[in-house]
Amino acid sequence: MISGTSLLLVDDSPEIRLVLGHMLRSWGYEVLLASSGEEAWDLIQREQPRIVIADWVMPGMDGLGLCKIIRASVQPAYIYIILLTARNDQESLIQGMNAGADDFIVKPVNLDGYNELKARLRAGERIIQLWQALQEQNRRQVELSDRLAIAHERLRRELDTAGRMQRRLLPPGGSRLHGVSFEWLFIPSACVSGDMLSFFGIDEKHVGFYCIDVAGHGIAASMLSASLSQLLKPEMDGRSPIKQRLAVEPYYAITPPVEVMSELNRKFQIDAQNFQYFTMVYGLVNASARSLEISNAGMPYPIYVPINDSAHYLGDGGFPVGIIEQARYESMKIQYRSGDRLFICSDGVSECCDTSGEMFGSERILNFLNGSHDMSLAEVLKELERIIGKWHGGADFEDDVSVLGIEFP
């Protein structure tokens, strides 16, 4: 028994109130008494008893009426109602249950009757306890979901900030280095991206550029892509693989693309704990020799668009960086002509799906670029963004989309 559970006994007979009330008190209940349905309803609203034992037949509002008015109202806790009845027929039972009664008992007159009432009250208390446990559980759920919502919001804001910081790592679009023009397109799938691209002058005639796509996306991928962007700078800090200090003139050496890949592959080998690897294109332009050397570590084939010829894929791929320790990388050399263009797209472009699930595919990229000779480099990238946006149908992209476009002088 829940000690001190408040209980309201409603009966128009003073004897019943006296005898039964005394009995109920002796069982540990805190007993309220009412002599009519109206008085009971008044007490219920003020005292909120957990159990109501009501006589079925009363002048004015009877037990059924009281049941109905209780059930129609909003109560802070469930009120368990037992109807006292002289009737024991099925029809009354149904009528009482429909009105909202939980249990029935014939008015007790002897020890057996009291024992039955006691047992029925215990059953009622079990229901009340279950209800309370459920309430408590609900309250905790609500509290938990509130906390989750707050944590989620904080995480989203932090991701937003991280995304903005990451975009600041990107070079300015519309740049020209030693006459070589660069434009890019960058659409992260979430706030942060595993894609990264950049370009930089290395000395007075060399320009380097890269595109990186870290496998997977989200936070882990973006952390690796951000740290790669910090590493891949044309600074002789002893860490960057782009340019090395030399003891003799000209006091530096520019690392060939194949060596850059091998060096990164040594540095970023995956292990059992860390399974982040990446694909990458690294290119080195010699503006005075009008040549390009390019190495591809598993990115989609770069697309070369000669000024007066049709677009074609470059090279035949290569190992991604970080998954095969003994990987050997290759590069190809191209003598470019003025106006030739090079495009490097992350797989987020070719693998971007329309609403039916069909991928954009590399052929569509190639075909589009093939017909893009008359557009400026910036226009080509804008149009590509429009086309894949339209293909995808407006929703957020599932994978990061990045494209680097280069035009040779």
Binding site: D213, A215, G216, H217, I270, A272, F275, Y277, T279, G298, P300, Y301, D316, G317, G318, F319, P320, I323, I324, A327, D347, E351, M359, E398, D399
Partner: protein
């Protein structure tokens, strides 16, 4: 789980029943294979006939399984669909994974 396993003469044969081995499935796939390997299998065949798309996460998962097995000769692939073959070629993983046209061929190679 989009992974079915059977054992043929002591050799584990895993069939990927998802059409995509991608970012969404890669982690589960990796754990599923690791689970099977923990049961003591040292040689396995992965039937890829139902996989028509694999992304870099899927490729990473497959490499991680290979590293767990330790030897490409003990983890053979079969029924690899053209889009996956293209990805293997692009990433040179065709030099790493050993691919057979059918489950029977792969099983025969493992028995030899």
């Amino acid at each position: 789980m989009n992974l079915q396993d059977k054992t043929i003469e002591g050799i584990l044969v895993l069939t990927i029943t998802s059409p995509q081995l991608d970012y969404a499935f890669a982690e589960d796939f990796k754990l599923g294979v690791a689970d099977c390997l923990r049961r003591g299998h040292e040689r396995l065949v992965i039937d890829m006939s139902q996989v028509n798309f694999m992304d870099s996460s899927g490729l990473g998962a497959l490499v991680s399984c290979l590293k767990r097995v330790g030897d490409p000769k003990r983890m053979l692939l079969c029924n690899v669909a053209p889009p996956v073959v293209s990805l293997f070629k692009l990433t040179r993983m065709d030099q790493v994974f050993i691919v057979y046209p059918s489950e029977q061929d792969a099983l025969a190679a493992l028995r030899a």
